[in-house]
């Protein structure tokens, strides 16, 4: 399993990642945002919270592509790729969930109601439940993988499971939240992408932010892949 030099060793996109993230933090806090009731300045969370979910979706997509590539070639290298991209995708998803929990505490939760009442309503949010299901399916992917000792069997079963997990993302985080009432934006179309949600001034920060956070996730994933390949090589020797 000798590793040829590929995109993982190139530095231009890592530099781009650093610059884009610095731009995100600086421009994200200093540029003007539209003033909206309730949201106020918290709309700046768009550059961070929403980007976590975008990054998660892109990393899961990369993961499923590698899973399919494994099934076509039975090259164990692709199995390692798929696993590590999924792992970083899970981290991004958990961060998106955690930041969403903080954000909603100060925007959705009604301060006039007792805490348990307003949080009782929030717990029934279809978007939250959908995202939780999606993440749990990916947790199961990790548990399933690591419980199989035979390398080829593990790679095959987890590649197939990866495809099912990816397919489950669509009803749980794309379709269900769009057909049910929710406090979370997005029922009317694509949250954070359509005209009414986000104005031009925010777009010039939001798109670079998505790319920057995704590149950071990719960077961490490639580091994990390179470590796993090294470990693999050592075991072979």
């Amino acid at each position: 399993m000798t590793e040829a030099k590929n995109y993982m060793h190139k530095s231009w996109w890592k530099i781009a990642c650093v610059l884009l993230l610095l731009y995100t933090v600086i421009a994200g806090f200093l540029l003007k945002v539209p003033v909206l009731p309730i949201l106020g300045e918290t709309i700046r969370n768009l550059y961070f919270h929403v980007c976590m979910w975008f990054a998660m979706m892109i990393l899961f997509t990369v993961s499923v592509v590698y899973a399919v590539m494994y099934l076509r070639s039975f090259n164990l290298k692709y199995d390692i790729y798929a696993r590590q991209y999924a792992a970083v995708g899970i981290v991004m998803g958990v961060l998106g969930y955690a930041t969403g929990a903080i954000w909603m505490t100060y925007t959705w939760a009604d301060p006039n109601n007792p805490a348990f009442q307003s949080f009782g309503a929030l717990a029934r949010e279809p978007k939250l439940i959908g995202a939780a299901i999606a993440l749990l399916i990916y947790f199961a992917y990790m548990v399933l993988r690591d419980s199989i000792n035979d390398m080829d069997k593990r790679a095959r079963i987890s590649a197939v499971y990866n495809i099912f997990a990816y397919a489950m993302l669509f009803p749980s985080i794309w379709i269900l939240p769009r057909v049910m009432d929710s406090l979370h934006p997005g029922r009317e179309g694509n949250p954070a992408l359509n005209q009414s949600d986000i104005d031009g001034g925010m777009r010039i920060v939001f798109y670079p932010a998505v790319i920057g956070w995704t590149l950071l996730g990719t960077w961490i994933a490639t580091l994990k892949i390179r470590l796993a390949l090294l470990k693999e090589k050592k075991m072979m020797q």
């Binding site: 650093v18 993230l21 933090v25 200093l30 580091l223 090294l230």
Partner: protein
């Protein structure tokens, strides 16, 4: 690795000298940091955290590259 440490030292020196400059002269930097309801303080904190994390990832990258070369 040596050159990386030098860059890190340079950065630390730069950042600490910024603080010193701010203390000496209350006109320039200090008023920038205190303007706009002190949002620049938040930006500085977040940039510091981000740079710290990115620097850490960069170091990991170099360590793994070295391991790959040794193998």
């Amino acid at each position: 690795m040596k050159s990386l440490n030098k860059i890190a030292l340079l950065l630390v020196a730069l950042v600490s000298s910024l603080g010193a400059a701010a203390q000496k002269d209350n006109g320039g930097l200090d008023s920038l940091m205190r303007s706009n309801n002190r949002i620049y303080v938040v930006v500085a904190v977040l940039v510091t955290i981000l740079l710290g994390i990115l620097f850490y990832v960069m170091r990991l990258d170099r360590k793994i590259t070295k391991l790959e070369k040794d193998n």
